[in-house]
């Protein structure tokens, strides 16, 4: 069924028309990091960690939403790509809360994992954190938005999987925030149950208050610094 052929990292590979660069890479065992991509749901293209180099393109392109086209010459791990990914991860870390040692999900944190894979240390940028109080009124979900990287997975999970429409994006620019109703604290009134969104969250912004300390899967990931 391989009806489109492209060159990926110097090798000829093929896949059906309509699939994305990321999907093709996966099929060929090439691992491109992602933070906002959700298999089976429409991409948002917001984190930009999945960028790759496509010959002839002025910019890098996000692999999660760019379909393959015939003759594309793609580099998924060129020095240019890796450096761009590092900058993005450092930008996210620069506004991330920075208390990994206390974080419930430290050992399954996707942001940490991507940072480690890219060999990212302490961000080279001035630190500008977003501070929000921890929301622990709901018995199902604890929300700490200072750890949120605005990937919008929780919004999509709530809308498309749970079909509850509790979350939405609010405000603009750096102040963007996942809001509940009129920017209220997540509590029993607005979000009744389910907690479907928790495993979708790539960081510790959403966690399960009951399962405290049980999310640990392996030894802690260490960020160089």
């Amino acid at each position: 069924m391989a009806d489109i052929t492209v060159t990926m990292n110097g090798k000829q590979v093929g896949g059906p028309a309509g699939i994305t660069i990321l999907e093709l890479a996966k099929q060929n065992g090439i691992d491109i990091p992602t933070l906002c991509y959700l298999e089976g749901l429409p991409p948002t293209g917001s984190c930009r960690v999945c960028v790759v180099e496509v010959e002839g393109s002025r910019t890098l392109v996000a692999s999660c939403h760019t379909p393959i086209s015939a003759g594309m010459i793609i580099q998924t791990h060129s020095p240019k790509v890796l450096e761009a990914r590092r900058v993005i991860v450092e930008l996210l870390l620069a506004s991330h809360c920075g208390t990994c040692y206390m974080c419930e999900k430290a050992n399954i944190c996707e942001l940490r994992e991507v940072a480690v894979d890219l060999d990212v240390g302490v961000p080279r940028f001035p630190i500008r954190r977003r501070f929000y109080p921890i929301e622990d009124e709901s018995p199902y979900i604890t929300r700490d938005l200072s750890k949120c990287i605005l990937c919008r997975k929780c919004i999509r999970a709530c809308n498309e999987v749970a079909k509850k429409h509790v979350y939405a994006m609010g405000y603009r620019g750096f102040d963007s925030k996942v809001v509940v109703d009129f920017d209220e604290v997540l509590n029993k009134e607005v979000c009744r149950d389910c907690g479907i969104c928790i495993p979708y969250c790539p960081t510790g912004a959403l966690s399960n208050p009951q399962k405290s300390r049980k999310d640990k899967k392996g030894p802690p990931l260490v960020i160089k610094g």
Binding site: P43, T44, G45, S46, C47, R48, V49, V51, T59, L60, A62, H65, T66, P67, K80, E83, A84, V87, I88, L91, L92, A94, S95, R124, F125, P126, R128, I149, L150, M169, Y171, R172, G173, F174, D175, S176
Partner: protein, 403 residues
């Protein structure tokens, strides 16, 4: 003669509230001619004219129309981008204020060519004072029978620069947050409500009626090899005569800002507003054309008393405020650039900060989701190129400490 009036020919001549004054200036003659042509013929004429989009990217107008015409879709739309949010531009406002009819005629022709039965004019919230005159002009054109094939609706913005970007603009017309959608798919195949959509700047559409009336060959005589026609530019800042100028493409920057607008002691010029380029006084002989450095129609002049870092800092502050926040490089990066520039203003910067600025700029340009983030570091990059000493002078005096 660098000045020539094609787009602005009726400005100050007609009464923008009365269609009969427009009809006296051959108004809607082009529409009558176009409506007797097939859509394909109209597109062929616009393609042959080599008209390029005036909204910033300079994309060939005829190709865009053809793309939307040929794309499958139950409905098609034409949108006029009147969001004009770029710092230092006011030419679209001047046009809307003085000659709304030519724009409506251009929209009527575009809708005929594309096969759109619904067209929108997206007017920025700041220009609400123009709303009733614009709606009045549409009503009069309809009453006179010039809009048998299309409904033109004016939609208002509400204070968001990013809604000038075509994808965000369509989200906004759909009633949503003005956030960027990724491309592809492009608007010509999946635009407004996923239908084929043409989106053109006000000034682009203003060129359509003269092209249909006088022919592509006439239009091709004006301008440079790759930029045909005229360009309307908004000149502001340290000039004696700020205002709107229509010049033949290829006119030099010097002819515009020195000869026409009366600038003196120029230090630098920002071309294209906050996302535009910065050029130094030594580059005034550059011709203004799409192949050189023209984007949006803003020309802001700064004289020798101005501080480069302050200019770049304010530019970046603007972009940080106006970033939609969807993609991480732009949302986080703009503000971080502002913070680093503040170190230069305070005198606490180190040589490492220049490196960081360069690395961050490069990554933002390569990875951002839309033109805002991709062009946001332009002023940083250009100022580091032409005015690097301004940065170096502002660095912390390093003391050598023995360890």
């Amino acid at each position: 003669m660098p000045e020539k009036r094609i787009v602005l020919k009726n400005c100050g001549v007609i009464d923008p509230r009365r269609i009969d004054t427009y009809l006296q200036q051959d108004g809607f003659k082009a529409w009558q001619k176009a409506s007797a042509m097939t859509p394909e013929q109209v597109i062929a004429e616009v393609k042959a004219s080599n008209l390029r989009g005036r909204g910033g990217a300079g994309f060939p107008c005829g190709l865009k129309w053809e793309g939307a015409r040929n794309a499958p879709g139950a409905e098609k739309f034409v949108i006029c981008n009147a969001d004009e949010g770029e710092v230092g531009t006011f030419k679209d406002r001047y046009i809307l204020q003085n000659d709304p009819f030519s724009l409506i005629e251009g929209l009527a022709i575009a809708s005929h060519a594309v096969g759109a039965r619904q067209a929108y004019i997206y007017l920025r919230g700041e220009y609400r004072f123009l709303l009733s005159q614009l709606r009045g002009a549409i009503r009069q054109a309809k009453e006179k029978g010039f809009l048998p094939h299309v409904d033109i609706e004016v939609r208002e913005g509400s204070g968001a620069y990013i809604c000038g970007e075509e994808m965000a603009l369509m989200e906004s017309i759909e009633g949503k947050r003005g956030e960027i959608r990724y491309k592809p798919p492009f608007p010509t195949t999946q635009g407004l409500w996923q239908m084929p959509t043409v989106i053109n700047n006000v000034e682009t559409l203003m060129n359509v009626a003269p092209i249909i009336l006088n022919g592509a060959a006439w239009f091709n005589q004006i301008g440079t090899e790759r930029s045909k026609g005229t360009k309307v530019l908004s000149v502001s800042g340290d000039v004696a005569k700020p205002g709107v100028y229509e010049i033949v493409l290829g006119t030099t920057l010097k002819e515009l800002i020195v000869d026409l607008a009366g600038a003196k002691n120029i230090k630098l010029v920002q071309i294209g507003g906050a996302t535009g380029r910065i050029v130094s006084a030594s580059m005034l002989d550059t011709p203004l054309a799409f192949e050189t450095m023209l984007s949006a129609g803003a020309i802001t002049v700064f004289d020798e008393t101005r501080d480069v870092i302050d200019i770049v800092h304010r530019t970046m502050e603007f972009l940080a405020e106006e970033s939609c926040g969807k993609c991480s490089p732009c949302r986080e990066g703009c503000g971080i650039i502002v913070n680093i520039l503040e170190r230069f203003i305070k005198g606490t910067a180190t040589p490492k900060d220049i490196t960081t600025l360069e690395q961050l700029s490069s990554a933002m340009m390569l990875t951002s989701l839309c033109g805002l983030g991709q062009a946001a570091p332009n002023s940083v990059v250009d100022s580091l190129k032409y005015f690097r000493s301004a940065y170096e002078e502002r660095m912390k005096k390093v003391e050598v400490v023995a360890r």
